[in-house]
């Protein structure tokens, strides 16, 4: 089975506090630590496990600048066979549809049975997978938490729905699935693993190689535009306890007692 996994480099929220920059045009990007989007990492692990079970190949692809090569290499160290970087000035500031347009162009150059994305990334939009499937006119399922390959033409996929219940579907191939966290346990990648793939070639495809008209992607092609970033208002009732640790604990114990928080 030929599997493509679409990944994205994002600021690692476990490592960073995210806040707007001084003029609100972006988040503060100085000193941010970047990594592969958490959901995408589960998608790559799932692809590798499917390939190891039934054969085939795993390709990871991302649209980004030259720094994104690092996450492609990381996922290749996990076990992906090939990485492709889609990079062009014209791709900058693409909205979700723009990203889907870029990925579609790459997908149509190859032949893939299964295309995976993360269920969502840093902007929480959860949109690229569904858009991509619609552009390719193939079936889509979001929030996938289990995959079983039936044969060359069909899979069984479980979607995580409300209440932790699982909605089981039979889906014809090729298809696009967006992968939910927890579907597997992504393997650890050490420095040694990354070194092993350090010299592998990662092809870079630009807009003209992908036959993408620059006005359909990037800033120019965006139907949805970000105006600014700002900090959400704190809740009205939220009281942040301050003082020495003893004082904070004393206040907190009183509050817990008066609200029935200590039996």
């Amino acid at each position: 089975m030929e599997i493509l996994v679409c990944i994205k480099m994002v600021p690692d929220t476990a490592e960073n506090e995210i806040e707007p920059n001084s003029d609100g045009t972006d988040i503060e990007r100085d000193d941010l630590v970047y990594s592969v989007n958490e959901w995408d990492n589960y998608a790559v692990e799932e692809a590798i496990q499917i390939r190891d079970n039934i054969g085939g190949s795993v390709t990871v692809v991302t649209a980004g600048d030259e720094n994104s090569e690092e996450i492609l290499r990381r996922e290749m160290a996990m076990g992906a066979d090939k990485g492709i970087l889609l990079s062009d000035e014209a791709f900058l500031n693409s909205d979700g549809k723009g990203i889907a347009t870029i990925l579609r162009a790459e997908i149509e150059k190859g032949k893939y049975d299964l295309i995976l994305t993360g269920a969502q990334a840093d902007d929480g939009a959860a949109q690229v997978g569904g858009m991509l499937a619609a552009m390719l006119d193939i079936p889509y399922a979001s929030l996938v938490s289990s995959i079983e390959i039936i044969d060359d033409t069909r899979i069984k996929a479980g979607r995580e729905i409300e209440g932790g219940n699982r909605e089981m579907n039979e889906i014809d191939l090729p298809c696009v699935l967006s992968i939910q966290t927890g579907i597997n346990e992504p393997r650890y990648v050490g420095i040694r693993g990354i070194r092993k793939v350090a010299s592998l070639d990662i092809p870079v495809h630009n807009a003209s190689e992908l036959n993408i008209s620059p006005d359909t992607v990037g800033e120019a092609g965006s139907m949805v535009k970000k105006i600014d970033y700002f900090v959400p208002e704190p809740g009205e009732g939220a009281e942040i306890l301050e003082g020495s640790n003893e004082e904070i604990i004393e206040k907190l114990v009183d509050l817990l007692k008066s609200n029935g928080g200590i039996k």
């Binding site: 600021p11 929220t13 506090e17 995210i18 988040i27 549809k97 929480g124 939009a125 959860a126 949109q127 569904g130 858009m131 499937a133 619609a134 889509y140 399922a141 979001s142 069984k156 995580e160 729905i161 409300e162 209440g163 932790g164 219940n165 699982r166 909605e167 579907n169 039979e170 889906i171 014809d172 966290t181 927890g182 346990e185 139907m223 949805v224 535009k225 970000k226 105006i227 970033y229 700002f230 900090v231 959400p232 704190p234 809740g235 009732g237 939220a238 942040i240 306890l241 640790n245 904070i248 604990i249 004393e250 907190l252 114990v253 509050l255 817990l256 609200n259 928080g261 200590i262 039996k263």
Partner: protein, 323 residues
């Protein structure tokens, strides 16, 4: 002429989802006095009862009745909506497991902009609609604008708009079933596998000590258990803890886990994504302990402590134990 805004109504076992009434408020924020049209797919008597329940709340209700729509399969519904809706329609969905499945692809088929997980609408200037969404699990907000002259597909965050239950629109049900078109699909619904029940039922707990990513290591869960022990609480958790297989699924609070309604909820190292908060009902007294002052949990908590839970909680436990 008043603008028409469509809302896709979710329902289950004949019960209308709360989002239906939130859409009315949302539609009025987009365009005051908008004519809101409910679109409801389903089948048989349950569909009829849903349509009847909501018809006084919407200007009109489009009923699309077919056996093939008895379970809401996004891959079947999307082509039906593409065929039926006007090309420049503004359509609202809930940003839930069906809306996420259905709406992004619909925006491509309709050639309309898609705006996901919207928490508020600001104003329309000409054909530019301005709205607010969040990024990085609620750590920052953004103003976003889009041109709605060719329509828009908008996913609205559940619970972000007050429900409008005034039932003052007095609409009628219009049967659109004959226009549904092709209902075959390359994705076929098979069955629902119910979530497993855990060793305890956290939906019945009065006090919950809940653990999030800030606990950092599986061994540290003991810190939460010790606090729970001295105050008589049960231990629950957020999604990353279940993903890491540190606790069982039955203890997860959130839209994809359990919906709980304790009197007191103590969130340890939980950032407070809307999916997590969606599982918290009944207005509990919320205590948040988190080292990140920007964690969205502080926007909803009653009391907050900005500190590393690994240092703070053992001290708290010890103090309570001594007293």
């Amino acid at each position: 002429m008043a603008r028409q805004i469509f809302a896709f109504i979710r329902h289950k076992d004949g019960v209308v989802d709360d989002s239906a009434y939130e859409f009315i408020t949302a539609a009025n924020k987009i365009s005051s006095g908008a004519l809101s049209v409910a679109v409801v797919t389903g089948c048989g008597a349950q569909l009829d009862s849903v349509c009847n329940e909501i018809k006084s709340s919407f200007s009109s209700v489009w009923k699309i009745d077919n056996e093939a729509l008895s379970y809401p399969n996004a891959e079947i519904i999307r082509p039906v909506l593409t065929k039926m809706l006007p090309g420049d329609a503004i359509v609202l969905f809930g940003h839930d497991t069906l809306g996420m499945d259905l709406a992004p692809g619909l925006s491509i088929k309709m050639d309309s902009p898609f705006i996901s997980d919207v928490i508020d609408f600001e104003n329309i200037e000409g054909s530019e609609l301005r709205l607010i969404r969040q990024e990085f699990s609620g750590q920052v907000c953004t103003h976003v604008s889009c041109d709605i002259s060719s329509g828009a597909i908008i996913n609205v965050r559940p619970g972000s708009f007050l429900p409008d239950e005034s039932k003052s629109a007095g609409g009628e049900v219009i049967d659109k079933s004959a226009e549904a078109g092709d209902l075959s699909s390359k994705r076929r619904f098979l069955e629902i596998i119910e979530a497993e029940m855990g060793d305890i039922d956290i939906t019945k707990s009065e006090i919950l000590v809940s653990v999030g990513r800030g606990i950092e290591d599986e061994d540290n869960i003991e810190i939460a258990k010790e606090l729970a022990e001295v105050i008589g609480a049960d231990v629950s958790c957020s999604r990353p803890i279940v993903d890491a297989k540190w606790m069982e699924k039955g203890r997860q609070v959130g839209t994809s886990g359990k919906t709980v309604s304790p009197k007191v909820y103590i969130a340890l190292g939980i950032s407070g994504s809307f999916q997590h908060l969606g599982g918290l009902k009944g207005n509990p007294f919320i205590v948040a302990i988190n080292k990140n002052p920007r964690a969205p949990i502080f926007q909803v908590a009653d009391v907050g402590v900005v500190d590393d839970l690994l240092d703070f909680v053992p001290e708290l436990t010890e103090t309570i134990q001594k007293s």
